[in-house]
Amino acid sequence: MLKNMGQSVIIPSYDEAVFTAGELVNTAADFVLQSDSANLMLLQAKFSEAYLAFQDVSAYEFGPAKTVALRGNLNTYPSDTTKIENTIVSGIWDFDQLQFTDAKGLPAIDMLLFSQSTTETLRLFNSDSNAQNRKEYLKDLTEQIHRLLNDVAIGWSSNGDNYLEVFTSNKGTDVGSGTGMLVNALNKHFERFLRDGKIGIPVGVRSLGIALPEKCEGYSSGISLSLAIKNMRAIERMYNGNNLSNSPGIGLDDHLVGIGASDLDNSIQQQIAVSTAALESLSDPLSENIVNDQTQVEATYAELQKLIVLFKVDMPSRLGILITYQDNDGD
């Protein structure tokens, strides 16, 4: 299972993310050279592609991705608009410093390219007094994204640090084992970054029931729901061991069937289908959907919640997965 996950699912997903990030770097460079509406449209399209490709890798936050804190560096949202504008004016930034976490990554590009009308965006990049700084800022943003993704891809590659070998050779079910890391990463991502980050927090389940639509991922570009659905598909493939073109491979599902837990596998497959359908019943821009029909989005959240129970309780319990290195003497 681990071999299939690493070779056919994880590594190709990083390769794809690196590729789209490379295109993002190139189109950003073109736009910086010639900031016209044609290049802006091209860049906006490549940005969406890169953001969508990132959804395929974001859940695998262990090993090389954990080393570079990929998810936090690339996708901390919402961005701090004031901080970004002030930094552009100052002309001084270093994206490797922690203080810029909420002023960089994909969300910062989302804000730079989409938060204003096309005319205003082009003015900011051309005739505004800080236009040059803004260009540099955008360029540096795309380059850091590409560099970090590339670092992770090299980390996994057999031509690089060959983390694949570490991942596949750590048998067993403790925290450091391949299966342990996979299941714990799946649960952490699904609970905090998909259910809460993409749906729960914007719809207000964490804020006294008051909706916060501006906290949507990809708020300015309005592709929040597409990102969430892509991420849900990635979780599904993470569970099923399916590759990017969704052809089947050995995954956690086969592992469960192998130990005689096909009932549980059926429940999980069914709830994945229900959750995906619930997400697909919503519409982009998600922020408007939340304002217009908060109840509908809350219902989607409730379906994701049901899936979390199966992922976090039933699956680790059947597989004997541990969540800490702490001593235990049974539950």
Partner: protein, 446 residues
Amino acid sequence: MNKLTQYISKEVHIAPLVVFRLVFGFVMFFSVLRFAANGWIHQQYIEPSFHFTYLGFSWVKPFGETGMYLVFAFMALSFLCVALGLFYRLASISTFVLFTYVELLDKANYLNHYYFVSLVCFLLILVPAHRYFSFDVYRKPSLKRTHIPMWSIGVFKLQLGIVYFFAGVAKLNYEWLINANPLKIWLPAQSHIPVIGSLLSKTWVAYFASWFGAIYDLTVPFLLATKKYRPIAYVFVIAFHVSTAALFQIGVFPFVMIGATLIFFSEEFHIKVLDKLERLFRFKPIDVGVNNPFRHKWKKATTVFLVGFFALQALLPFRYMLYPGELFWNEEGYRFSWRVMLMEKAGYASFRIVDTENNRSWEAKNYDYLTPNQEKMMSTQPDMILEYAHFLESEAKQQGVKNPEVYVDSFVSLNGSPSTRFIDPLANLGAQNPSLKHKTWILPFE
């Protein structure tokens, strides 16, 4: 009672107690160092913003970072002093106070073997384990005694016997014996282990291990107590604990038990061990000329106290009978009963806070307040769910919500069963008071 007093006051050689002091002191000393080296002081006592307290002990609070590191530093030093027999009285009191203090800080970290360590530390305060082969005797030769009352050694044998026997009694249940759960789940998860790995996924191995474990726990203290079966019993002790150490993440406990059960061996054996150590370390035994007899004070009081101490321990595992429902599900009367590695339980609890005044509701993010281990423990244990619900209630009040109500959406899986609803979702946990009474808001196990 008089007969019993006479029996337990009989004079025996001190050597087994001295070896016990050495083994326990050193193993615990290394255990504390290991705990610190793994970063667990920070992870368990500094990082969490919220701690699960024991009923009646909510006043026990952690110190800050420096304070907690000092506590563990003194604890390590005290265990070392106990082993060496240096400032023994002070050191033994210190190990008990510090270790028990740390254990009382957070219920989420409860382990039966920590409870065992606390009890042994307490017993060590009562006995004259430093009066031979110790730095205290070196400092003050008049302390030396070669013979002590039998109970000073007997209490440890009895304590160990209780641990094993009740661990065995706890295994006498349908799930363990007839369904081979949870070993049927846990053993196949270890099938990657070389040589024996392929065996571990076989069902019969889970049954064999379950039955063997139960029989071992129930009989081993009695076999260790007999001269004839002691050597073979000790071979089983080593085999049993080494295999559990290899299969499960249970820390130093197996080694504590392998070391501690040596106390069942004869005086002659322990005298030989000490002789060897003397020669090895060129530790010159001090000859005080006349051998002072041990002056045994408060004989009667000691007897009464020890009878009470062990009677309580023998009753605690049965207190669950005072509660209705399924013990493994409700966990009312579960702790302090030597229920070790007995079930695979996992849960998920999501808390909804309702602002009744403004008719709004929202959910608490557990990962903002709890560590993964705390969250796991809380999700399956009703008393912890309740304490956390009260904490969330007070958080809401602090945020200005006048009459918050707290509800929980919770699911639990027991021994691999499909997760089912655990707590009544309509019960406002904020209105339930923590007590030892049966918690009526736990849904029955199906």
